[in-house]
Symmetry: C2
Subunit: 288 residues, 2 copies
């Protein structure tokens, strides 16, 4: 495995909102990006923007053999199926990475199916858009954002270093490592629970005309309620136990707060609010 | 009562983040703004920015007598206490308005205490900042935002028209009218419930280091968890029944969604997500 450099031949498989954002970030910095994706129109769009050198709607052995790094930006089950069906096309020495939102049920399965000499190092870019499709791709979402790498015992230090260099090239502010299991527990809270809450808030009261009266707080809490139902239902089910347990912790804390309100315990409510205020300052996005 | 015009002498009582934003918006458009507020440093700050003509830290009879429109931008109980203590200073023909986040328990009480010839028309600017203090004031938050007027049977059509003109001058995109009771029910859902959720999300899992792994969805859902605990505890208690009932509706819907996940009902989850997606498009902020 060579180090990540401008000579690295990068192949993105799946040119959607995230794959497209990778292509934008990397091509802008002079990296060589190609792609394989389902729709010719997405390739045409990317060619017109100049964010890929070339692309194919076919599973092209040539593109795959030429790639030093392949980024899989697919739905989880499509990624796993792809490896099962086309893994034999992969060239020894090619490094694979992904952008998948769950790791525990994916990483081990993919690693077990790979031919000798092909390594998969999983990563999760903690940035996205609520809309799907390459036309919504935007590499600026990576600035100031977090990038999580989830190595296993099958991974080499070289692959981790390569993946870190990729995260830096993409523009991420913080790059960290977790085990797949730690990642999934974290993500159940930070990302999946928030999507459950946003969807619930959007559907628990469907009185008419409310958009006439709303403020920014409701808009902020429901931005992600515009949701890719196919992908998120899949992600939730792949991380069911961890998500159920985070949902329970939230529901318990919510019920406790309700009880403070019901009993008119102003001091109690204020103490929780002050804890929230202090803790929230940790989560401000680093200035870029 | 004259119509709202550049000759209107406006007095803002309470120069915090909202009072300050009113002063900025109105002074920029050439309206005459003065203020009464607690701290001399806030007056100095506003004078330096040129957003007020003058100000006083005393309850100045002169400023009050000169005002055609007084905007109360105070915590609810301080507003009510102010009227009780200083209402006799108000001049016949002066119109009062406010920015208070609850109406049912405030509007009637204030209207009942006013001297003859002094009218109070309540309003709620649905825009704010999570930080307190005039130095965080920003009139741009009103652009594209909603302004709710809550007239009662004691209000004249002239006062409603005056208050609409004020909302327009402030830059609001949509101005609407609700009864105080309708307002409070709406606000329990759109604003108070969202703050309860944000605080709960911030405090239900306090594992260390999570800021290293977060994405924008968690940041968005917890922006308002930086909360003015004094003010919000008061607002919650003044609207307790409506808020409890919205919390229950949310908790019920959340438990239903949890059950879909627990039983692996992908189609059921996806149906809720699609409902959320469609409904959320209604709430996009109008482009300004």
């Amino acid at each position: 495995m060579n180090t990540f450099s401008k000579d690295t031949s990068i192949l993105i498989i799946g040119l959607g909102v995230i794959g497209g954002s990778y292509a934008k970030a990397l091509s802008k910095k002079g990296y060589r990006v190609r792609c394989i994706t389902k729709e010719q129109k997405d390739i045409d769009y990317a060619l017109e923007l100049g964010i890929i050198e070339s692309g194919s709607t076919e599973i092209s052995g040539e593109l795959i053999q030429d790639a030093d790094l392949i980024v899989f930006a697919l739905y989880p089950h499509i990624f796993v199926d792809w490896i099962r069906e086309h893994g034999h096309l992969l060239r020894k020495g090619t490094l694979l990475t992904d952008v998948t939102g769950v790791k525990g049920q994916i990483v081990g399965e993919v690693q077990a199916m790979l031919p000798d000499g092909v390594e998969f190092i999983a990563a999760h870019p903690m940035a996205g858009r609520e809309s799907s499709g390459v036309e919504y791709s935007d590499d600026r979402v990576f600035l100031g954002a977090n990038f999580i790498i989830t190595p296993t015992e099958k991974n080499t230090p070289e692959a981790v270093a390569f993946c870190r260099a990729l995260g830096e090239a993409l523009g991420f502010a913080r790059i960290s490592e977790l085990t797949p299991e730690e990642h999934d527990e974290m993500i159940a809270f930070l990302s999946q629970l928030t999507h459950c809450i946003a969807v619930t808030l959007m559907t628990c009261n469907e009185a008419p005309m409310m958009e006439q009266y709303t403020g920014d707080s409701f808009r902020d809490l429901t931005r992600i309620a515009k949701i890719n139902d196919v992908m998120w239902a899949e992600l939730f089910l792949l991380n069911k136990d961890a998500l159920l347990s985070q949902m329970d912790a939230f529901a318990k804390e919510f019920a406790d707060f309700r009880e403070l309100l019901r009993t008119g315990d102003s001091d109690g409510m204020r103490a929780v609010m002050r804890r929230a205020t202090v803790r929230r300052t940790l989560f401000d996005k680093p200035k870029t």
